[in-house]
Each structure stands twice: as structure tokens, then as C-alpha cells.
Amino acid sequence: MLEVRDLVVSYGRVRAVKRISFAVEQGQVVSLLGTNGAGKTTTLRTVSGLHTPDSGEIWFDGERIDRLPAHKIVQRGLAHSPEGRRIFPRLTVVDNLMLGAFARRDRGAGADLARVYELFPILHERRNQPAGTFSGGEQQMLAIGRALMSRPRMLMLDEPSMGLSPLMMKRIMSTIAELKAEGVTILLVEQNASAALALADHGYVLEVGSIAFDDTGAKLLSDDRVRRTYLGED
């Protein structure tokens, strides 16, 4: 469904992503692991069209998308919940959610709104509150809900558990599992490697801009290198 080939991305003279290639198959959950500054966020932002790559190709659903502007990429069914939540602070919760449906042409946003409220009841309770007054965890729910409003075929989540309590974290992970069961393809960047790998069909480990190795989620969970670096075991 998504295929990235030899992607190179720089900020000015600094190379952040150095020729990485990976693929996400339809219906899979794929996890991207890596230490701070490895280039995970840069990779997602480039796939979404917020950065232009220096070279390489990005294919989504058989179409090359690396030269498309960001707003056209969402229209094709690829949603992105960005790192740091990035909700619109001075808009209400419901306005934030409806902006998530901006790219849609159909009239089904109402049904998805109901579904997001069901997933995160707190959003319904506070739907008319400015989103900037929310706690970090609530904002994260809003960010995920907003990404779902576009009814994406593929969803990219950049650290969805950042700043969440263990309970909320579990909720988010089970939401991701539900989405997977519904057939949504997911690319997941997560600091919490054990939770991410437990869900992932496949995982890629990124080190300073290059893919060091990749394997199935289960194999990576028991891989020594992963256990040492990402699960904090020695």
C-alpha cells in the first residue's frame, strides 16, 4: 500500500534521512522504531508531503506521491496524526474534529464523528470547549480522533502515547488494534517499543537516518539489540 524507496531528506545541509526504503502492506500495522533524532518524524512528514525529498520515491496505492502537495495526499486516504499532537488550540473540539474531515467529499462525516465520540467519550462531553484548554492526554485523543475523521485507508501515528497515563496508553493501543481489525493500514512511530511491537506485523529500526534492520514484530520483540536499546534491558 505504501512503498518508500531510497528516500533522502535534508534540512539545509543536514541529512536527516539517508536512503531509507520500507514498505507497508495493506491491512498491516508497521512500526518504525528509532532513538531520538533517528529521522522517524522526518520520514512521516515527507510521506505526508510536508517536506520535499532530495531523492527517492514514495508510492501510495500504486501512485507516486512524493511530488504532490500535502493537501492532495490526505485526499487520497493517507492521514497523519503529527508528533506533539498539533491540535488547533483556539478552535473547539468539534471544529478540530470537523477539520479532520476537510478533505472528504462524501457526507459521511457525521457517522464518523459519532464513532470518534464513542471511542473517546470525553471529546463528546467537552465538544464545545477550546481544544487548547485540554490536558496533554485529552489532546492526544483529539489528535487521533481528528485523523480518523478523514476516514483514512492508511493512518500514520507519530508517538500517539506521548504523555499519556498507562491507562490511556492502553486505550490508545487497543484503539489501534480495533482500527487494524477494521482494515485500516497503520504506520506507527512509538517510543513505547514493547506496546508497538506487540501490535506490529512488521517493524523497522531506524538509526541516524538509515534503517539498521527490520523483522516481524514478534521477532523484533525478542531481538537482543531491540531489547537493549528500546526496551531498556541489559
Partner: protein, 330 residues
């Protein structure tokens, strides 16, 4: 003090303030989206007034003074202003979107001079010359020379008319200005808060990258911001023409500078702030001119008060009266 005199000044202040407010919205909306101070915006106001005059010359055959000419001129003025603003955005500002901030600022000053000179030199000669090519010397639509402040069309029942209540004179042109501001303000409120594009505009102002992730075409939103500001400036151009009977190619400079002051006064980036800032500025200017006695009184000092107020606000309340929506200082 004579209360009628006071109320007269109040009315005059609100009228002048409405004019500033209509122009100020354009500064604030564009700033809110791309943090650009579009110093050429005053010229969009001027171009609107000349657009209204041109519409009258062509569609009103330079003689119709019936009331319905007003909406026709309005459409013409808005069309000319919006087109000018969109061309300016597309060809002057968009290529500089990623340039250091000083570049678009200098460009804005350049465009401002360009538009003034363009109107001064070519407002008459281009349309008249083109017609001469087709019709010979007897041209159907004679455009005036913009070097000598041309007369603005006078509209029956609006231009020059007035009535008096309790010793206070209310000019129809002044009422037109205030009513135009109120209608534009209400319209803008609905547009920004109740429409899809309006909400996309707010989202873009708050976080442009994330707005793009929502599927919002940010270039399009920037165009909308320029167009909305230009439309209101065109309305101001007509209001100005009706009130002052003559228009000139230089009129956008001082009006633009004061409207910019009004936008900063209210908190740049904040639409309500621009309206409130405009009204306050108009009131201060008129009241100071009317009531300050002695050396500093009278109209010789008229233009000083706006900028004195700006300095005071920048020192004591830099975020403006209602607070800037965008926390971004150069």
C-alpha cells in the same frame, strides 16, 4: 461645553473610525495567516475608489446618479481591488514565501509606489488610448486624468445629503460608511466562524503545517485572506469617495498607515481588534483635534495623534487592545 458639539465630534470620529476599520481588517487578516505586513494594502483601498469611478464612467456613462449605481459601483470596486490584491499576492509575495522577512516588506513598499504611480500615469491614458485606437478621437468613455484629483460620482440621496437631530448633523455618506462597516463585520464574523473556508482560515492561522495535513490548500486560503481584505478596502474606497467627493492616487498612503496603526492598536491578527482599533483611532483623532486647546490643537496636529497613540500602545500594551491572536514578533 456644548453637548451638540461633543456629539457631533463623536459622530465624526466614528465615521472616520469606520473607514480605518474597513481598511484595517485587510492588514490583520493577511498578517494572521502569513505574518506579512502588507504595506501595499492602502493602495488596494485607493485602487478600489478608482475602480468605482471607472465602473461609473463605463456602466453609468458618467452621468447616471440614481441610487442603484451604488451597488453597481460596489461590484466594480470590489472586483478591481480583489483582482489587484490577488495579482500582487501571486506575483510579488508568493515567490518570496520562504525568503527572509525583510524581503516581502521591502517588496510591499515597492508595490505601493508602483500602484500609486501606475494610477497616476495610466488611469486616464490607457483606457482612453485603447478607445482611440477603436473609435478615433470621439471616444465613448472619457477617463479623467488621475494627476488632478478626479471627482467621485455623486449619488442622489447619498452624496452631500444630510439631516440634523438635536443639533448633530448626520451626513448620508457618513451613515453609509458606518452601516457598511457593521454589515461587513457581521458578514465577516459569519464567514470566519460558520463556514468551512472560514474555519480552514482559522486553522491555517493557528498552525499552517497541520492545516495542510487536514487537506487544506494553504495557498488557496492565503488568496482568500487577500481577497477578503481587498473587498473591505474597496468598500472603504467608495465610502471615502462619497464623503470627500474627490479621490486621488495618493489617498491610500496615509489612510493605509493609519489603518495599519489601527490593526496594531487592536492587536494584529485579531479581526475584532482591527475593527475596535479603527474606531478608537478615528475617535482619538477627531476628539484630539476638536478638544485639545492651544498650540497642539486643531487640524495641523491631526495626523500626530494616531501615531502618538500607536507609540503608547506599543510601549504599554504591545499585544494591542484586544490582544494579538498570533504571538509572533519580528
Amino acid at each position: 461645553m456644548d453637548p451638540a458639539y461633543f456629539f457631533q465630534q463623536l459622530v465624526n470620529g466614528l465615521t472616520l473610525g469606520s473607514l480605518f476599520a474597513l481598511i484595517a481588517v485587510g492588514y490583520t487578516v493577511v498578517y494572521g495567516i502569513i505574518q506579512l505586513i502588507n504595506f501595499a494594502h492602502g493602495e488596494i483601498f485607493m485602487v478600489g475608489a478608482f475602480g468605482a469611478l471607472g465602473t461609473w464612467i463605463i456602466l453609468g456613462r458618467a452621468e447616471i446618479t440614481a441610487w442603484w449605481m451604488l451597488p453597481v459601483m460596489l461590484v466594480g470596486a470590489v472586483g478591481v481591488s480583489v483582482l489587484t490584491a490577488l495579482l500582487m499576492e501571486r506575483f510579488a509575495y508568493r515567490p518570496l514565501r520562504r525568503a527572509p522577512r525583510l524581503a516581502p516588506l521591502i517588496t510591499a513598499i515597492g508595490i505601493s509606489v508602483f500602484l500609486q504611480e501606475f494610477v497616476r500615469l495610466f488611469y486616464g491614458p490607457i483606457p482612453n488610448g485603447l478607445q482611440r485606437l477603436v473609435f478615433g478621437d470621439d471616444i465613448p468613455f472619457e477617463f479623467p486624468d488621475a494627476k488632478a484629483a478626479p471627482r467621485f460620482p455623486s449619488i442622489e440621496g447619498v452624496s452631500g445629503g444630510s439631516f440634523v437631530i438635536g443639533g448633530v448633523t448626520l451626513q448620508y455618506a457618513a451613515i453609509f460608511t458606518v452601516v457598511a462597516l457593521v454589515l461587513c463585520w457581521i458578514g465577516l464574523y459569519f464567514f470566519v466562524n460558520r463556514t468551512r473556508v472560514g474555519r480552514a482560515m482559522q486553522a491555517t492561522a493557528q498552525d499552517p503545517d497541520t492545516a495542510r495535513l487536514m487537506g487544506i490548500d494553504v495557498d488557496r486560503i492565503i488568496m482568500v485572506a487577500f481577497a477578503v481584505g481587498a473587498a473591505l478596502a474597496a468598500v472603504a474606497g467608495i465610502a471615502h469617495g462619497l464623503q470627500y467627493t474627490n479621490i486621488e492616487f495618493r489617498m491610500g498612503f496615509l489612510a493605509g498607515l493609519k489603518a495599519f496603526t489601527a490593526a496594531v492598536l487592536g492587536g494584529i491578527g485579531n479581526i475584532n481588534g482591527a475593527v475596535v482599533g479603527g474606531l478608537v483611532l478615528g475617535l482619538v483623532e477627531v476628539m484630539a483635534t476638536a478638544f485639545i486647546p492651544g498650540t497642539f490643537g486643531g487640524s495641523a496636529w491631526k495626523d500626530v495623534w494616531a501615531f502618538a497613540l500607536l507609540i503608547l500602545v506599543l510601549v504599554f500594551r504591545p499585544q494591542g487592545l484586544l490582544g494579538a491572536r498570533v504571538v509572533d514578533r519580528a
